[in-house]
Amino acid sequence: MIKMTETQASVPTTPKKRSIWLEVFRRMSKNKMAMFGLAIIIILVLTAVFADVIAPYEEVAIKQNLAQRLQGPSAKHWLGTDEFGRDIFARLVHGARVSLKVGIVAVGISILIGGTLGAVAGYYGGKIDNVIMRAMDIFLAIPSILLAIAIVSALGPSLFNLMLAIGISSVPSYARIVRASVLSLRDQEFIEAARAIGASDFRIVTKHIVPNALAPVIVQGTLGVAGAILSTAGLSFIGLGIQPPAPEWGSMLSGGRAYLRYAWHVTTFPGLLIMITILALNLLGDGLRDALDPKLKQ
């Protein structure tokens, strides 16, 4: 058959990291909702970093003042006081530190373990892949909040155990994502080229595959921080999270439960803040996914 030559040459896609991320940000900056989420997160991070400047920890957030317990919002206590007379605003500010820390570390743990397992499974394939992924399926058969509850209840409630439990309970989703990216990348030509010039497996994975699998992991990670914060609050709510008197949003909320009839603000404000935080992270995560979409589709 006679065919017209395809005159439309394909544009070479040399991966320029910097420009890709700039491009992603440029695309995301058009998304008002995502930028709104980002703004809230930046405010939260700054609050967490400067928590001590905003309100002294020991005097305001920890020290009990029973004379002032369960006061409604006022000029002195913007969001009122809790059942021990502590300023709720100050505790929320310091709670941001805890929540963000747990969220980020827990997701870090999941990415580290899940990412490694996924990369190994995808890269080597065969039996190794089978064993790892079947194990992940088994983990997925247990609802993640339940797994976290079981781990914390076994190890005992502490900040570290909490982060570990939440981190471990979402390992399978990262393993799956990374494995899928690695599988789609493994047989591409630039990987074969790297192998042909004698690059080691470790080098190929870390230098070539990991950067290319990053996009979906970042999206999942952003949404994962939201999930981790939610789980932390939930576990604290049933007494398995951060132990009092440390300020944590979930346990503050739980503490106010008994006083719901007399002091609505003690449960309302921490919950509201959790919701705003999760909302912001979801908006950012969705925005990132949309901005990275062309790359995800590749």
Partner: protein
């Protein structure tokens, strides 16, 4: 003579379709004219992105809106302007008087409905048959495109690519349309299957006396099937002629380019002469004649002046300043 018996079936005048997006306006179709008589086959030829598919969707008024918008022009079908019809009237035309075959048979069929149901649906809509009768007719249509009728209860994934395209053809021809628009119907198929499907379409078209617009970038296919040809470039029809005229006496430099990139077995040539450069970005078309940046004959005036259509007689029309006597050939 009543309207239905006139020779002319389709007459598109000055059709303009743009896609309006955040990143700019894609000028997909820019004032094209197409004329087609009953039973005739027109080859609409051009590179990817020339606006062929948009033209086809425009005729059926199926340009996705937003972002696509038909900005102007007229589409006379059996003497009536389709652009003035209501949505309900258009639905009676789609699949009935005008039907379309899409490029990729793998994705053109609904995966959760049986092929029989999908053929029967169009019959039920337009011929008012009951479900059972429609299924019976669907079976006959399947037989006609060379698929055993008893396979009507199977799902698309149980068929090969070539078979799926036969099913799509059966859907398109089920209501005996006046006009069939085939958008690169063989591009997605294996080379061996391509010829079969093309033959099938050609035979059925003759049997039903259906007019056809065949969209393709394959001049070989055009030579086999078409009566006349329109060459499309950057949303414009740059040359239109009968098949013989176009192949023996092409006028537009772009058409020369298309032929220059076909391997010729008879002449000994060192290398092919493909058209240099790329299709222009449709959001940012060049000034003047859109082909001038790639045209071997381009003069300075081509950058400024938009060529008008020159009628060379015998239905041969071309859009180039050479034939307006402004630029030297």
């Amino acid at each position: 003579m009543s309207k239905a018996e006139t020779k002319e079936l389709l007459n598109i005048k000055n059709l303009t379709i743009h896609y309006i997006t955040e990143d700019g306006t894609v000028k997909a179709v820019n004032g094209i004219d197409i004329q087609l008589n009953r039973g005739e086959t027109l080859g609409l030829v051009g590179e990817t992105g020339a606006g062929k598919t948009t033209t086809a969707l425009g005729i059926l008024r199926l340009v996705p809106n937003p972002p696509g918008k038909i900005l102007g022009g007229e589409i006379f079908f059996e003497g009536e302007d389709l652009l003035k019809k209501s949505e309900v009237e258009m639905r009676h035309i789609r699949g009935n008087k005008i039907s379309m075959i899409f490029q990729d048979p793998m994705t053109s069929l609904n995966p959760v409905l049986t092929v029989g149901e999908q053929i029967a649906e169009v019959i039920q809509i337009h011929e008012g048959l009951g479900k059972q009768d429609a299924i019976e007719k669907a079976k006959k249509m399947l037989e006609m495109v060379g698929i055993p009728g008893n396979r009507h209860s199977e799902y698309p994934h149980q068929f090969s690519g070539g078979m799926k395209q036969r099913v799509v053809i059966a859907i398109a021809l089920a209501c005996n349309p006046q006009l069939l628009i085939a958008d690169e119907p063989t591009t997605a198929l294996d080379v061996t299957i391509q010829a079969q499907v093309l033959d099938l379409m050609n035979n059925l078209k003759k049997e039903f006396q259906t007019a056809m617009i065949l969209i393709t970038h394959d001049l070989g296919v055009v030579a086999e099937v078409c009566d006349k040809v329109a060459i499309m470039y950057a949303g414009e029809i740059v040359e239109t002629a009968s098949l013989e005229d176009l192949f023996e006496n092409p006028k537009h430099p772009y058409t020369w380019g298309l032929f220059g990139s076909i391997p010729n077995l008879e002449e000994e040539v060192e290398r092919l002469n493909p058209i240099k450069g790329l299709m222009p970005d449709p959001t940012n078309l060049p000034s003047g004649c859109p082909f001038h940046p790639r045209c071997p004959k381009a003069a300075d005036v081509c950058k400024k002046q938009m060529p008008k259509t020159t009628d060379l007689g015998n239905g041969h029309k071309v859009r180039c300043l050479i034939y307006e006597g402004i630029v030297k050939a």
